[in-house]
Amino acid sequence: MTTTSFHLIIDSCYFIVALLFILGLKSMSSPVTARRGIIWAGAGMVLATAVTFAWPGMRNYALILLALTIGSSISWWAGKVVRMTDMPQMVALFNGMGGGSAAAIAAIQLSRGTAHSAIAITLSALGALIGTISFSGSCIAFAKLQGILRKAARLPGQNAVNIILATLTIASGIYAVVSGANMSIIAFFTLALLLGVIVTIPIGGADMPVVISLFNAFTGLAVGFEGYALNNPALIIAGIVVGSAGSLLTRLMARAMNRPILNILFKPITGEVMPGTALVTGTLKEISALDAASILRYARKVIIIPGYGMAVGRAQGKVKELTDILEQAGVEFKFAIHPVAGRMPGHMNVLLAEANVPYEKIFDLEEINEEFSGTDAAVVIGANDVVNPAARTDKSSPIYGMPILNADHAQNVIVIKRGKGTGYSGIDNPLFYGDNTRMLYGSAQTVVSELIKHLKEFM
């Protein structure tokens, strides 16, 4: 067989791969076909990997197989054993690795200096830049969500530092492309790594899902650009499709939070009290699990608002049990999901689906927000910022303008919370001090179990 026919076979396979990826992603956008979608995309990946071994002129097969085996087996295992609640940081980590891979490809392209055109070398360098930022940024995002890095730290003059560092990085990138000197390439990558860290470090709390999604889009673009430099259509199509889909997803999320993407990157929520911030007054009123259970038992309608606290406490199974009992008692219940509840959009939906909560009980913000005024009890389980009325009223609040769930409009609000601290963003929440609000302290798992115990006594 001649190399030309080899290439014909390889290219036909890449064509099928691109098709499988697009069809797979399309299927993944509907709950009915979603599972089929990932299987198709998976088949595409296997085909792409297998056919690449036939690439003419390939050497280093042992090295390739070794890297392939180590990389895929470790991360396959990690992906299988990770707890459902830790999924967001896992996605961030895998995404960072993709960015790192694209950056490593670019490093070789740049140091060889044998790119087929000026456009190719430019795109390769661009891919190196965004791939590296995605790599180091995603690692920081992972460390934050995993709790390794605890607080959002903000440098003095953060924005100025960002701009200077970005300028230096781009300048060194241009110099690296033009000169091709090894030292300048190393400087370029070091600066880009640093830029990813510096940009991500100050971003905290509720903004993290948007940032992960943004880095996901970044990695996609980087892969697409390296695909151009490598003359590989499968990489171009998969990369650019993910780049644009990821950008749209990022925008959808940012819009759901009413936080323009530029504000997320450059005006992070830090929880500092800004001058003019209305101080929250009043007292926190505690309630016992027994009293809370009786409120729920004799309510006509209950809306449950889950947040990250439910995920951390792994209480979704218990919450499902609670709603089963409420249903037996003839209490109407619904779940209200804020678009950014948890650490990723849809995070709560995934957890509730895991606990077998029926879809028709789960409602989005727009669908349910009018209903709170006719609700006897709103139960907030480990959510904070997404029910903070300061977002509606307090112009000086860092989350002002973000749409929130109107839990405070319900007759009674029961807030299940681990302790008296502020939420992930560090902002005080006036809802907790409201006249109709009662605080129920403890981990979500324990408190919900107690509620179930008392409710059973009432039956």
Partner: protein, 111 residues
């Protein structure tokens, strides 16, 4: 890449053709995702994260063509990271989506 052009006799990704592909792929990605219910945002983010794991293919080619120890080392790293992205991305996405398998009533009209 010159090598490929020589081997192949033509270069399929010449100049503007690639730019057209960029444009069409961008629109495809936009279309694919524009009508997604919120419940699928996380799985879809994870799924698209898996799809860009195809960077593995590029990494394999680069390592396959590597000549110096430096290129081999960086290429090895690229394959390692790319494989981790693909395999981990699949494992995580598949686990998330397996929760949508049950026969419960599927409300596809919900956004």
């Amino acid at each position: 890449m010159k090598a490929r052009e020589r081997l192949w006799g033509y270069n399929s990704m010449e100049g503007f053709v690639a730019l057209y592909i960029f444009m069409l792929a961008a629109f495809t990605g936009y279309e694919v995702i524009s009508r997604v219910p919120v419940i699928l945002h996380t799985p879809l983010m994870s799924g698209s994260n898996f799809v860009h794991g195809v960077v593995l293919v590029g990494a394999m080619v680069v390592l396959g063509e590597a000549q110096t120890p430096f290129e081999q080392a960086i290429g090895f790293l690229a394959v390692l990271l790319g494989a981790a992205n693909a395999a981990g991305g699949y494992a995580v996405t598949e686990r998330m989506l397996s929760m949508f398998r049950s026969e419960r009533k599927q409300d596809t009209t919900k956004r």
